[in-house]
């Protein structure tokens, strides 16, 4: 059953076979696999359960329910906004349903550099096929592309850029366009819809408003989790919750998981816990069109441009020749372009200016489009705990990522004009306003270090990278911690590098993989 831990008589001590921390794609899938294998499982989720029946499609109500810090979580230097979910189901409740597999060159590189003896490419394929079947993942039919995506597609075709449709996990979608605020129609095949009912049916339990603080351990073995019940209104601790379990699986995201590990004083000779954070940083260009396109209506992000996403170049094989290896450092191989849009409150904060200028831009809200350039990043950030409940996220772009981001921004603007925009705006201080025919070269010279250009990320990863060598990795390719018996990790932290696309499908796959490894039921 789903329990609201804030209503427990506190403090409370509960026993289970396995405690899973986090109910997003990794945690929910791992918990379902373990529960269905017969383990008694308790899943801890710091956020609330927000069933579709109470979702109201309003930004000011749904963002505080669904997003960490209401969507305003930032890196320590304040220059990068990192959006993460906080409800039962994690980020799968507010995401836009995109599903992409990890490209083969990346998996091949991981095998070459990290061992991966328990997670071969064949195992990935098996896991992907299962998740795709469980979640009814399929391409969006072209006739369902909304005007925003149609314009994006037309721009790609005008420029002759490689582009294609995208796969989503939605069933019964009514094309309302409110996906980012949670699906009130329950058409998202997310963790809360697909895996939570299975966890409950298998006799296991989920505690909402319950935040894990640290892993308990003794003599090299996990013994449970120390957590706190949170007041639903203030989100401040109400009392202690202790889970006694000989198996613990951390699935608290690439920010939460390393913070818990570090807070728990768990041995890590590799020194890699919390290191190597990647986030898929993105920059945005907005465009004004002559005709209304109402970009907020219909299915978002159904089409992509992969012209500047060359995984073979970015991940050359170990036996690659010099010329092939040189391509790795070339700009323009790690940029993914997709349309992106938001409702008025979020859009207003993104658009630059004030007074008449800002009101004039907002007055064209129904003629506004936005394209984002998301980078398959190589910069290594860091996560550290902040007190018992918080995290500090350090991330800034390396020179290579800075160049790739600005290249992507320029290509977004180029694509926007090719789509027919009469004007393009780059949210920066000062705002950059471009007319058709203007040179885009200055965009590639912008100063990201100053913080005058807004960088946004929605995919933190790689902060507890898996690898089979205990001297170089924290956990192995089963998701099992190298140095603490009974401790596992199942979320995006495991990726050894960023993956260049939406991670939810791969995190679900990892969740099943780790859940089966924990319960000994892997095929």
């Amino acid at each position: 059953m789903i329990y609201d831990a804030s209503t427990f008589e506190l403090p409370i001590r509960v026993k289970a076979d396995l405690c899973v921390v986090g109910s997003g794609a990794g945690g929910a899938a791992a918990a379902a696999a373990a529960a269905e294998a017969g383990l008694s499982v308790i899943v801890l989720e710091s956020g609330p359960f927000v069933p579709p029946s109470i979702m109201n499609q309003r930004e000011e109500d749904m963002m505080p329910e669904l997003l960490v810090a209401n969507g305003s979580q930032r890196s320590a230097d304040g220059r990068t906004t990192i959006i993460q979910g906080r409800a039962l189901g994690g980020s799968t409740v507010h995401n836009t349903n995109l599903c992409k597999r990890i490209p083969d060159p990346i998996l091949a590189e991981w095998e070459a550099t990290r061992g991966m003896k328990h997670l071969s490419r064949q195992r990935w394929n098996e896991l992907y096929e299962r998740v795709e079947a469980e979640q009814d993942i399929r391409y969006i039919e072209p006739e369902r592309y909304n005007d925003h995506n149609q314009l994006f597609k037309a721009g790609c075709e005008e420029l002759g850029w490689e582009s294609s449709g995208l796969m989503h996990n939605r069933t019964g979608c009514v094309e309302s366009g409110f996906c980012s605020l949670g699906c009130a129609y329950d058409a998202k095949n997310n963790a809360a819809k697909v895996y939570v009912p299975r966890i409950v049916k298998a006799g296991s339990q989920l505690f909402t408003h319950c935040q894990a603080v640290r892993v308990l351990h003794r003599d090299g073995e996990a013994t449970g989790v120390e957590a706190v019940a949170l007041d639903p209104q203030t989100r401040q601790p109400k009392g202690k919750v202790t889970i006694e379990a000989s198996k613990v699986c951390l699935s608290a995201s690439a920010t939460g998981t390393p913070a818990i590990l570090l807070r728990s004083d768990i041995p890590d000779p590799s020194g890699r816990t919390g290191e190597g954070l990647t986030i898929h940083p993105a920059l945005i260009a907005a465009g004004i069109f002559d005709e209304p396109l109402r970009a907020w209506q219909g299915i978002p992000q159904s089409y992509q441009c992969t012209e500047f996403l060359d995984f073979d170049a970015a991940h050359p094989p170990p036996d690659a020749g010099e010329a092939e290896r040189a391509r790795k450092d070339e700009v323009g191989n790690r940029t993914w372009l997709v349309p992106v849009f938001a409702h008025p409150m979020s859009t207003a904060t993104l658009l630059p200016g004030w007074g008449a200028e800002h009101r004039r831009l907002m007055g064209r809200f129904d003629r506004l489009a936005a394209y984002t350039a998301m980078v398959h990043d190589v910069s290594e950030g860091r996560v550290r705990p902040s007190g018992d409940l918080g995290v500090d996220i350090e991330w800034s772009p390396s020179e290579a990522d800075r160049r790739e981001l600005l290249f992507g921004l320029a290509r977004s603007a180029e694509l926007m004009f090719a789509s027919g925009a009469s004007k393009v705006y780059v949210p920066a201080r000062p705002v950059i306003e471009l007319e058709p025919g203007d040179s885009l070269a200055p965009l590639e010279e912008l100063d990201l270090e100053s913080g005058d250009v807004d960088v946004t990320a929605v995919h933190p990863m790689s902060s507890v990278a898996m690898g089979d060598d205990p001297s170089a990795a924290v956990v192995d390719s089963r998701g099992k911690h190298h140095h603490l018996e009974g401790l596992w990790v199942a979320d995006g932290s495991l990726f050894p590098t960023s993956i260049g696309g939406p991670p939810q499908l791969s995190i679900y796959a990892l969740g099943i993989h780790v859940g089966e490894m924990i319960s000994g039921t892997d095929s």
Partner: protein
Amino acid sequence: MSDEERQTKISTGEESKSKGLRLSRRKFLWLGGLGTLGLLTVGRLGFYGSAAPLEGQVLARWEAHTLAAAAEALIPDEPGKWPATGPSPLEVAANVDRFLVGMPRGMLREIRAMFGFIEHGTFLGARLSRFTRLSAEKRLDVLVGLYERGGVPAEAFEGIRALCLVGWYQDDRTWEALGYGGPLMSRPAPPKAVTAEDAGGYADLMAKPGSAPQGVL
């Protein structure tokens, strides 16, 4: 220079935005505290009672008043000429107050420092009056001055600008001008404590509030 000219210049990217002082975040928090504390000595605190009756859950009365005053400068086409359709400045502050409930404490500390810096940091610009006692035009000058200074002062500008916009554009009355139809359903805000009665098709999954889970020791 008029605001319109300023905006045009800014829009075309001609004006330098970094005019010196770039503060660290710690200095910003310190400055916010200094602004609030030091100005006790010149009698710039107090007397917000009649101006801002909002009793917020998060914002103090003076913070709500500062936010409403900033909205009067930043939202209208011309400072002080409040749009006929939309929430009042105080309603903007009330909307923001509701939005901030449950924000992490560290973030709320930064937001409070920002309010202190804006309300009482006017002395850095050699103004004797606190922000809320300036005319709407002068308030806009102060805010744009922060923006033009760059660094952490510009972050303060961006912070209060964002809060004003959050408070303004969440209101249904502002949507018609955007061509935005809003939600396709009319439902209240989600309850903070969800029960089976709220959960629709998920009701069977929910335990009764206060009930003990299996395995209690």
